[in-house]
Subunit: 146 residues, 2 copies
């Protein structure tokens, strides 16, 4: 297992803890050290800003005591929405690795690409462990329908 | 003074308290009752997610104990960036009134329009008390350069 899959696996384990929330997990790492790992907590906290990426960015910034997360890498099981994509771009995170493509609202290429309107660009790699990341989402929505 | 200008004036007063941060103020109101009012606190808190709109949405959701801010109106002195615009759209806020246009990163029409990719649409009215809202930004950036 390479490093990218190693951290995505941790994000996947977090996603599985989402409980009532759409299962999305996120990890931020710098030079091999994990700064934050969390899941989507929107429903649990009654707060639409509590997507996994936003919580992870806040925690990592707090840990580094710096709003700039330069040299950090972010792993997330679902392609970020526009809110999270812009937060990632603004935080100066270096590389983003996402699992499942978000065809409805993905803001790193699937629906729109916010990198296109920003001076600062983040490197984005999609489809990492895509099958596993898609599977937990499919199961969640299947359970919701039943 | 009409109601819209009344609430925008409060947002402007908040913007003036931004201190080291870019002066942006925000108010969320429901049926004439103010739920939250705040300024941009990104630099002050070392957290890029602490734009005025995000803080205001969190506080209003907390007060209503509901992630949906239906029937709420949001007043902000600067056109929201993509992060904030998507948070606003997802929160189901009904009407957004903004002051200055954000030509670089405005996500309600100036640079992009995130309403276009969302099923849920928010009503957006720009240029409210535009001169006053633009003036405090111009003064901030002038001071920064000197």
């Amino acid at each position: 297992m390479n490093d990218i899959n190693y951290f995505m696996k941790i994000a996947l384990e977090e996603a599985k803890k989402s409980d009532i929330d759409i299962p999305v997990g996120c990890v931020i790492e710098k030079e091999g050290v994990i700064l934050s790992y969390t899941s989507n907590k929107k429903e649990k906290t009654n707060d639409i800003t509590n997507h996994a990426e936003i919580i992870a960015i806040r925690e990592a910034s707090g840990k580094l005591n710096n709003s700039r997360l330069s040299s950090c890498n972010l792993y997330v099981t679902l392609e970020p929405c526009p809110m999270c994509a812009w937060a990632i771009i603004n935080s100066r995170i270096k590389n983003v690795y996402f699992g499942a493509y978000n065809l409805n609202y993905g803001a790193f290429g699937s629906k729109i690409n916010l990198n296109n309107i920003s001076q600062n660009k983040v490197n984005v790699y999609g489809g990492i462990m895509e099958d596993e990341c898609t599977k937990i989402l499919d199961e969640y929505f299947k359970n919701m329908r039943n």
